[in-house]
Symmetry: C2
Subunit: 359 residues, 2 copies
């Protein structure tokens, strides 16, 4: 798939224009573009501007409210539940994370469950908001049901990612951000474009038997929880996905499990909702609520240095610290621009034409 | 391996006698026996009375202090760091969890990092302490390094389990409790006893190549993070294990990574410690810090009922809700007793003889 390269500024300006055309107030426009572009910068191409037209279609279908009143509906010293008012998850999430950070300043930690939201981009971006405050950040979200729990043929969970961002001293922060499935849906999309087969253990057929067809989900197949099969611990991946679902939605009052509304506008949400919109869960923990931050950072440096210098298996250069590859992408793409594949470029051009703006 | 069956009361009394002989005060004796026996009841045979002689050997080696002064060394409204004073993890952990619960009563949530502790038994037991308080409980711990991160041949992490216990209404609680490796070490021990091979993806040889030999760890091999290999997401299992290690030890001031002292008394702890003892991390979240508990429980019931009734793959009776198998074990073994294999019985008899008590 041939690619064209665009500067960060170009795509940032374009995304802001689109969010503005959707009617987002300017503060929301900035937050949304920042969340969205962070995915492109960090190499998570499936969650960046490639999704812009998807958000627009949900807005047209009146499933995204571009002028939400995002508010706390319940709270304690260290917790809050936020109603996203059907806003863009790209806006609701950073606002909820700010509340978690504010709670942590006073109570040591802050934990915010969110209902009535939409797809929030990459979890890692929100978790990383805690870092400049010398806090550990956490972010998780439920998502459209595409995953069959161990022993099941039904798609009951989303790829439900978890992100944990932990500050260090001289070393860059530790940033884990991963789907709780063997492979994220974005990995399948790459194989579909390249017309390649998927490894066994990523996908199952409609009847639950193994499949290597990356298009299997279109025929009723499902993604598999991290672990691939029971013998290799897929029940643990199911535990992780279930945990994210319950924290994000049962705690907040959002839809959970198979009731989570689909991201794609051409599929209607279930007619018997059990809550409002999709759910997220955020956490912020002040380091010095546990020990002095400089002491902690000194040990995080030592942790990272020890692991990074570990002896590797033959043929592998180094052990990868969570966050390393994405940080390298970010630094490279800020300088050299963001490559987009032909299909995404065509998609953005169509949006430009529709909204009568330049691309 | 032939087995004999013992009543809960018999093993409970025996364990209490042993802890008493070690010099534990009576409150600690009760807490320790409760933590230990819970593993046997719940079918986690590797973590119950089978480990009793291991604790005794560590105490003899002066690595376990039977009369610890367990105290808070740092705190905020929602957090604390606890120094376990080299006590039995079986005692330190429930005391730390009580602190998390007390914090949650006032601040909505409570988060306790523990240093200077020892092996704490099963994580699920401690997490479940939150349930009667209408709280969600979490427990994690680091452990002796047996696990090689993705791309590495070095054993840098323990099997670092995570437990999450979530109350429901009419349904029994959701209780996930799992090692962050493809298979827990206890699974290898079962294969060793049965002289069976392990599935590929559980273990690697000293040079990092795949192995099916359950004794491979004795030759410098390593357990593998959940996911089995890079293509199937072992880097995500590594993220999980690393997260547990950092929360348990870098936040608290315990030893982390390859510096975690070994559980077995015949291996000495590293001579260049980076902290004190092993580390744990506990959390308690009051349900009504998010939404009314009865509302939450109604939805948890619906979540559990929907998942439990999901359509299964051919040949599988039902989808397993986390906590179901352990609860069934617990109810069965309370009634019919706890089966112990011959080697464990011999071990306990030896302890009885040594301490001049009945078995």
């Amino acid at each position: 798939m041939s690619e064209a390269v665009f500067s960060f500024d170009h795509l940032d300006r374009f995304s802001k224009n689109i969010f503005q055309k959707m009617g987002c107030p300017v503060e929301h426009t900035n937050l949304a573009a920042e969340s969205l572009l962070r995915a492109d910068l960090r190499g998570v191409d499936s969650h960046g501007v490639a999704r812009l037209s998807g958000y627009v279609r949900l807005w047209k279908a009146q499933r995204i409210n571009s002028k939400p009143t995002i508010r706390i509906v319940h709270e304690s010293p260290s917790t809050a539940v936020v109603d996203g008012d059907a806003g863009l998850g790209l806006v609701v999430a950073p606002q909820a994370m700010e509340i978690a950070i504010a709670k942590a300043k006073l109570a040591g930690t802050g934990w915010v469950a969110v209902k009535n939201s939409n797809h929030f981009g990459i979890a890692g971006h929100h978790a990383m908001m805690a870092l400049p405050h010398d806090m550990i950040g956490m972010a998780m979200t439920n998502a459209s049901p595409l995953v069959a729990p161990t022993f099941s043929v039904e798609r009951l969970l989303g790829t439900n990612p978890i992100a944990v961002a932990i500050p260090a001293g001289k070393q860059p922060p530790f940033v884990a951000d991963f789907a709780t499935t063997t492979a994220a849906n974005g990995k399948l999309e790459i194989l579909q474009r390249k017309e390649k087969e998927a490894p066994l253990g990523w996908i199952q057929k409609k009847d639950g038997t193994p499949s290597s067809n990356p298009n299997e989900l279109k025929d009723g197949g499902a993604l598999i929880p991290l672990g691939s099969d029971r013998e290799h611990g897929s029940h643990k991946g199911f535990c992780l996905g279930a945990w994210v679902d319950i924290f994000s939605a049962v705690l907040s009052g959002a839809n959970y499990g198979p009731w989570v509304p689909p991201f794609v506008a051409f599929l209607n949400p279930p007619t018997d909702p059990v809550g409002q919109g999709i759910g997220h869960f955020f956490g912020a923990m002040r380091i010095d609520a546990f020990r002095p931050a400089d002491e902690f950072k000194k040990h995080m440096d030592q942790w990272i240095e020890r692991f990074r210098s570990a002896q590797t298996v033959a043929g592998e250069e180094k052990l990868i610290i969570p966050g390393d590859p994405e940080r390298e992408f970010e630094s490279e793409r800020k300088k050299k621009g963001i490559p987009l594949n032909k299909k995404v470029v065509a998609d953005l051009k169509e949006l430009a034409q529709e909204f009568k703006i330049d691309f």
